[in-house]
Symmetry: C3
Subunit: 351 residues, 3 copies
């Protein structure tokens, strides 16, 4: 599906600067674009990288006018580039709809109109599923789950009993929602599992990444607030109440009964101990080991985590530790020399 640069400018409703008849053979990001392809660059800082690229043309915002390469300016660069990519590699259209005869759906489950259930999915007793929701192959919805509208449950994701899922939620492949909380008491030398009477609630627009886990509450709900996005391999323990519009990057681990405010950001591999409170709009840096409450709006990094400004000073000081040791040693020599220069000739003897 080659196409000319002029046709692309019309496709994205952009302003063309260059030869409208230039043939374009594909679209790729700046790092990967080959000869003949169109790419995009969102700001002038990419000018050098663009000059080194083999790309035949580039999409830019109006404020960046590159030299030496034909370009098209548009207001929303990424949106426009998506349309171009979709021209060259049209997204697959799922030809399937309705409930596959190769799925297993309990007779007591209640599916609203236009639900799609793919082959080999399992829908347990008394499950309810909202309109237009899609359940992919191998997904398991155990008894009593309630799903909203326009939800997508990807292949092999598992929802334990009574999981509650809002509208427009995405649950990626291999995610496990509602497994037992990890709470034990030691009785006669054996770890005895605590109560597992609760469940999980995912708010509207929540996204759960591949192979991430959210454990059920002990007696009530573990909650993930509306709009919160969870990356891959994250674990959220029992009784947590994650706020709205949080962003939890990959491999974050949150222990039991943690609460977070809205718009909290956690970078990759953060760990939070149990029963802490993370304030609204707090930011936790990559690999932070959070051992105390974090006030709203604060940035914490390090392990144990403390405020970012403090850690910056400490990190610089740690890198200079060997130098500090040397300075101390030198100073000790100086002092020893001073002492010696004074000691051998005590005033009494001088007198």
């Amino acid at each position: 599906m080659p196409i000319t640069l002029g046709q692309i400018a019309r496709l994205v409703d952009g302003q063309l600067h260059g030869d409208a008849n230039l043939p374009i053979t594909g679209a790729d990001i700046l790092r990967d674009a080959r000869a003949g392809e169109i790419t995009f660059a969102e700001n002038a800082r990419l000018a050098d990288q663009l000059a080194a690229s083999q790309a035949a043309a580039v999409l830019t915002p109006p404020e960046f006018e590159p030299t030496g390469i034909p370009y098209i300016t548009v207001a929303n660069v990424q949106g426009a580039f998506s349309r171009i990519v979709a021209h060259f590699r049209p997204p697959l259209v799922d030809r399937h709809s309705g409930v596959s005869p190769a799925a297993v759906v309990s007779p007591t489950a209640r599916l609203e109109p236009n639900v799609t259930v793919h082959p080999l999915a399992f829908i347990g007793d008394d499950v309810t599923i909202g309109p237009r929701t899609v359940i992919h192959a191998g997904a398991r919805l155990m008894a009593g789950c309630r799903l909203g509208a326009d939800v997508v449950v990807f292949p092999n994701a598992v929802l334990y009993e009574k999981t509650v899922v809002g509208d427009r939620v995405l649950i990626h492949a291999g995610a496990v929602i509602g497994a037992y909380g990890f709470g034990y008491s030691l009785v006669d030398g054996r770890h005895q599992l605590g109560a597992q009477l609760g469940h999980v609630e995912l708010g509207d627009d929540v996204e759960i990444g591949a192979c991430s886990t959210v454990d059920r509450g002990t007696y009530g709900a573990t909650v993930v607030g509306a709009g919160t996005k969870v990356d891959n391999l994250v674990t959220i323990a029992h009784n947590c109440r994650i706020g709205r519009h949080n962003v939890l990057c990959a491999q974050v681990g949150i222990a039991g009964s943690v609460t977070t405010g809205d718009y909290v950001m956690m970078a990759g591999q953060v760990g939070i101990r149990d029963h802490l409170d993370i304030g609204e709009r707090a930011v936790l840096g990559a690999k932070a080991g959070v051992m105390q409450d974090v006030p709203p709006g604060e940035s914490y990094v390090g392990s144990p985590a403390t405020p970012l400004q403090q850690q910056k000073v400490i990190q610089v000081a740690i890198l200079r530790l060997p130098e500090l040791k040397k300075q101390l040693r030198d100073l000790a020599h100086t002092v020893a020399r001073l002492e010696q220069s004074l000691a051998p000739t005590p005033p009494a003897e001088n007198a």
Copy 2:
């Protein structure tokens, strides 16, 4: 299902202090309890939190007699609270038993009485399954697995060939037992996979969390000892011998051929390098990076991990590093001043 406080006291066989006719509409933990609900508080330190709660009544142990709220005292608070929660939200009863016709069970598998196999589960050749064991939807038991009695394998868990599972084991959704060990040798510039002739053995009462992995031994068994509890997203590598009654919190990673004694505790995100020995009742703090053997009974934290007492001193010292630098600078000034005050007027000239 509203109920009076007096009925609840009888349900849990507790001592009522307050109005027996008070209607109770639900049960929830202290943090989440709403007006009309009953909650629980296990000690007097929660008195302030209880006073701030909207709960209508509270369950306490005999030694904590709260004021300003009706209460019921019982010896086992959590056990009693579980019974109350179960009254308000009765647990689901699985109406299914026996082997689903929508499961795939090899004709050479041998199932003891009262085994339940849910739809779309897969039981391979020569697998044996003990009495009352439950295999949930989508679980895969590859050829030659041997499972004990009263085991539960949750949806989509996978057991590779010849996995041996004791009695009363729980394997949560998405867990993978017996995948290949990660052992390679570099031959002619390519990483060549080592032998994969071993398998995994899980002792009685072991619990494996969601999306956790235990790799098979190279030639023999990777062993998880009886009573050991493993949280979500944990990985135990090939040839490990984990002791009995260990507790491994979420996202712990244990490299190959590690051995641990009994009653070892590992907090979240701990990493242990290969071939180490972790002594009985050792405790590894959150995010510890263990690079050497840990003696029995010791607590190690930090990365690289060292004894807790040492790390406490070090952590304090690190936080005070900027101050230390300043002290050193001040001292250097003082010494310089001293030197100068001595140097310009040597005794000889004074004389």
Copy 3:
């Protein structure tokens, strides 16, 4: 299947030193070998451990001649030991081949000769699968996937749309290839998911561990180079280009758009921030938190990670921090004493 030591020597084509009629009842690694069993020891450093073992005989390389125990010498010890283990515990032979009638295979999928599809696997529209490839129970290949020859997809692994897989690739149970990249932009207080038009490409001989995830590219491919081995619970984010013959140990997390050269090694629980470049043959130590590019051939450790030599000095300095504090305090006392010894009797007053 007991066997004599002489028969074992012939089986592995080795040189026997000891009683050919000695009966051998099994084979196990040095740590685990019981009386009557044969084990192996690859070098003389294991002599003490061997002397303490109950093993009845041992396999060694020609340069290690142990005393007090019958032994067989062979050039390739591990290879020979594998053959002995296989004698005592013959590997299972999969009796199944062809496409199971209990699998779901799209009519538009194209399978080359000798493909095996196990029960309850799902092969979507337009998928192509190369010769001798094996798809295990519960694996999901979404529409448009292209798999090479001699690939093994283990139970319950998931490949999203259009995943491209080379020859001889192993994808372990629970792995998820091609889920959405974790890229959002904040629009009117909501995190809006970025484009998901790309896919994943796994080169020849790649191995992906259990429950590991590789996210699709935003517009193009996320690439894992030929010969690269990925352990369990690893996550590789969108747009990454991992080089050839890399080794990524368990629980490594790589953020978006990272590139690596060939033969890079990452130990367990390493984290790499987005858009970094890791040079050829670089080595990243366990738990390293990589916040900057790593030059080719360099070893980085720590968090934030810096060169190994620097970190070694720093680690020693940190462990001695309390001592450093004490030295500074002592020196301050000495200086104070010096000051005092000079100050009370100023020359002026003496005069």
